[in-house]
Symmetry: C2
Subunit: 217 residues, 2 copies
């Protein structure tokens, strides 16, 4: 148990410990006994505080994941608010920074992305919740921000695909650290994250074709 856990309630310790374990290894690979041992409490505590294991998993999303996602989203919008009338460059940059550097501690961000990936691969009840409360609003917000800068003839379908491509990058670079480190030879230190942000901005900006260049393909 980490030192900063000692002064929190059993319930909070369970949520925190459960989140990291679920993120690292998935729902079924983690046992209630392992969670309660790591949280330094009795085995029955999970059922007492959350009813059952599944409900603990859902509460991890309700009480930790979604709260954190809102912090990321807020960081994104506040970053934009500072430079009013944001350009596409600034929008993508704000987005990449919110997700790659952002308001989260490094471990936090990793676990956050891992949990989301697991839900995307095999959605549970948690995904519906997250989709309604976080993903869809964020998606709409981002599309609305970028729409004015996209070529006029572009249809809604292609806007969506562009959003998804950006999102695929920020998510992938967060959650797939092992293959990314393997192929780049880099660890996720501050310098590398800065390079990641610059890359995403560059790649996404030109990919979106927001500048009026001749488009031959």
């Amino acid at each position: 148990m980490s030192p900063d856990n000692e002064n929190k309630t059993t319930r909070d310790r369970l949520l925190k410990v459960a989140e990291t374990l679920f993120a690292q290894r998935g729902y079924h690979a983690v046992s209630v006994r392992e969670i309660t041992t790591a949280a330094n409490c009795n085995l029955a505590a999970v059922n007492y505080h959350f009813g059952n294991k599944k409900n603990l998993y859902l509460d991890v999303f309700r009480l930790r994941w979604m709260v954190r996602a809102r912090r990321v989203h807020d960081s994104f919008t506040q970053h934009l608010a500072k430079h009013d009338g944001a350009s596409p460059t600034e929008i993508i940059q704000a987005l990449a920074e919110a997700f790659i550097k952002g308001p989260l501690a490094d471990d936090e961000r990793f676990y956050h992305a891992q949990l989301m990936m697991r839900e995307m691969a095999k959605p549970t009840e948690a995904f519906e919740m997250v989709a309604d409360e976080i993903l869809r609003p964020f998606f709409r917000n981002l599309a609305k921000l970028l729409q004015p800068y996209l070529p006029e003839e572009i249809d809604e379908q292609r806007v969506n695909l562009n959003m998804l491509s950006i999102i695929s990058m920020v998510i992938y670079f967060n959650f797939a650290r092992v293959p990314v480190s393997l192929f780049t030879g880099c660890t996720y230190d501050e310098a590398f994250k800065e390079r990641l942000i610059q890359h995403i901005v560059n790649f996404a900006l030109t990919g979106l074709n927001v500048r009026e260049k001749e488009k031959s393909l």
Copy 2:
């Protein structure tokens, strides 16, 4: 059990059934009993043919995943061989087609991507194997093909990031079908896959900045 399984050996049926179940729900969420029931054989068959459950999982990668990955890679290179002296457009197009349409049946491709994502999120012994035999060679091959067309001043680091961005898209659009369908409103039919390919080619091509346009950012 699907009809085409009836004339195969118990061993082959186990590999096939285990792959889809592991892909759908992950290693720990699937029991040996469930696998053997679905494969229409006795419970002890897994331990008889593969030693234990973990070895069955590894053999799924050895005997099914890697074989299939080589088929995709071959499809990619053969597609390129037809148009010799491939342009960047043709390279990315061949890559996107190999991964999005490619030589695989639709279910196959989905399970293939799911298995890979699970390994990327939480690597096991299977990942080392796949990284050595498939991922690294493919990564090097792709980088070598595209290198001549990239801006000369680009360093190796940025080449790697560009490769990873392309890969992140093809993987993401394959494995994250639920959120993609949710946000686009599209199912993965032939028309949508064709649109996906075109999008990836467009996005990646301009993102790579392969054409000599003024680069302002």
